[in-house]
């Protein structure tokens, strides 16, 4: 059972658990985040980017920077709103087809999958019956 602290309507995320997952993968993920040159060459390798009118939010690097990048930046200040946003990115903007290609060798799918793991650990999951 996932441990969450209930405060009224807002469930606070279990920061310790998130931090332990983040720290376990810290060095590799930090390295990936550091070497991303923000060149945007990964954009066309994403089929979602190509089919959604080339909207930059579907670009692999945009997804990674705004999900796992923000989680590493906020650390102890991670709140439920942020995790909801990460959920939106990790599930609705990425299908983990592993076709994205980074010219600098960043393993984008593993980063998105880590974002999913963190959301899953806090019981924040997409509801597929919802209309997107």
């Amino acid at each position: 059972m996932v441990k969450t602290i209930q405060t009224g309507n807002n469930k606070l995320p279990d920061t310790e658990k998130i931090l332990s997952i983040l720290n376990k993968n810290k060095k590799r993920m930090k390295m990936y985040l550091r070497i991303c040159a923000h060149c945007s060459l990964c954009a066309e390798s994403c089929f979602l980017y190509n089919t959604k009118n080339k909207d930059p939010v579907y670009m692999p690097s945009h997804k990674v920077i705004n999900s796992i990048g923000r989680l590493y930046k906020k650390k102890r200040k991670i709140d439920r709103n942020l995790l909801e946003e990460v959920k939106e990115i990790a599930w609705k903007r990425c299908v983990l087809c592993t076709r994205c290609y980074c010219p600098l060798g960043v393993d984008i799918p593993s980063m998105i999958s880590l974002a999913r793991t963190i959301c899953r650990s806090q019981n924040i999951l997409p509801e597929f019956h919802e209309q997107s």
Partner: protein, 227 residues
């Protein structure tokens, strides 16, 4: 001031560059030496084609054409060509510049490289680099997808790469005061050396190293760093 920048500070920046690079590379090997438990495992239908015995059929003209079409060169040919030119120029110009070789010969008794570039060619290379950086800046401002992930830090990185070449050009053509520009030129190179291992510019070595570790079919190895 000039002597300090030319002497001890240059050595310090070299030392930081070498030890920082060693730290990053050793750290890379240490982080990837044991296979971590992944939340994500590759689907059984995704197969690695690299790192396996080369199938001669794979190297047919049609396949090369296919792989170019679906690589960076196929997606964005203009930018790919510009980055390739930019990186080649940036790597060869400092080593083949006549003035650098002359200074080395005076200081250490041997030149950096056996041949040097004529002055007009090195000028053309410098202009190419500055033009490429200018194009990168324009790209960051005007292309929507690049603008969406651009931060101030990206401009700073472009600036520290451009600064040695701009000051070097001014120095070669004796524009402004020679000594002041020389100080700025040496300082900018030292800044570049110091920040190289710890910033985005570390893609210089991770560009190659990461390819053995990434888990998809574009990796050089099997993606598990097995050597």
């Amino acid at each position: 001031m000039y002597e300090f920048i030319r002497g001890p500070m240059a050595w310090v920046s070299f030392l930081i560059f070498i030890s920082g690079s060693a730290y990053q590379i050793i750290g890379f090997f240490r982080n990837t030496s044991k296979q971590e438990e992944f939340a994500f495992s590759k689907p059984s239908y995704v197969q690695h084609t690299r790192g396996q015995p080369v199938n001669k059929k794979l190297l047919s003209f049609k396949d090369i054409k296919y792989s170019i079409k679906y690589s960076m060169i196929g997606f964005d040919p203009f930018f790919s060509v510009i980055t390739i030119i930019f990186h080649i120029c940036i790597l060869i110009l400092p080593f083949l510049l006549y003035e650098h070789n002359a200074i080395f010969e005076i200081l250490w008794g041997f030149p950096l490289s056996p041949f040097t570039l004529p002055e007009n060619v090195s000028d053309i290379l410098t202009f190419t680099i500055i033009a490429c950086i200018f194009y990168f800046i324009l790209r960051r401002i005007f292309i929507r997808r690049v603008r969406s992930i651009t931060t101030f830090y990206d401009y700073y990185i472009l600036f520290i790469v451009a600064a040695p070449f701009i000051t070097g050009f001014l120095l070669l053509h004796n524009i402004f005061s020679y000594k002041t520009i020389a100080i700025f030129h040496i300082l900018s190179v030292e800044l570049l050396f110091i920040s190289l291992p710890f910033s985005k510019l570390s893609h210089m070595f991770f560009f190659i190293l990461n390819r053995f570790y990434i888990r998809n079919e574009f990796s050089f190895g099997k993606g598990d760093r097995i050597w």
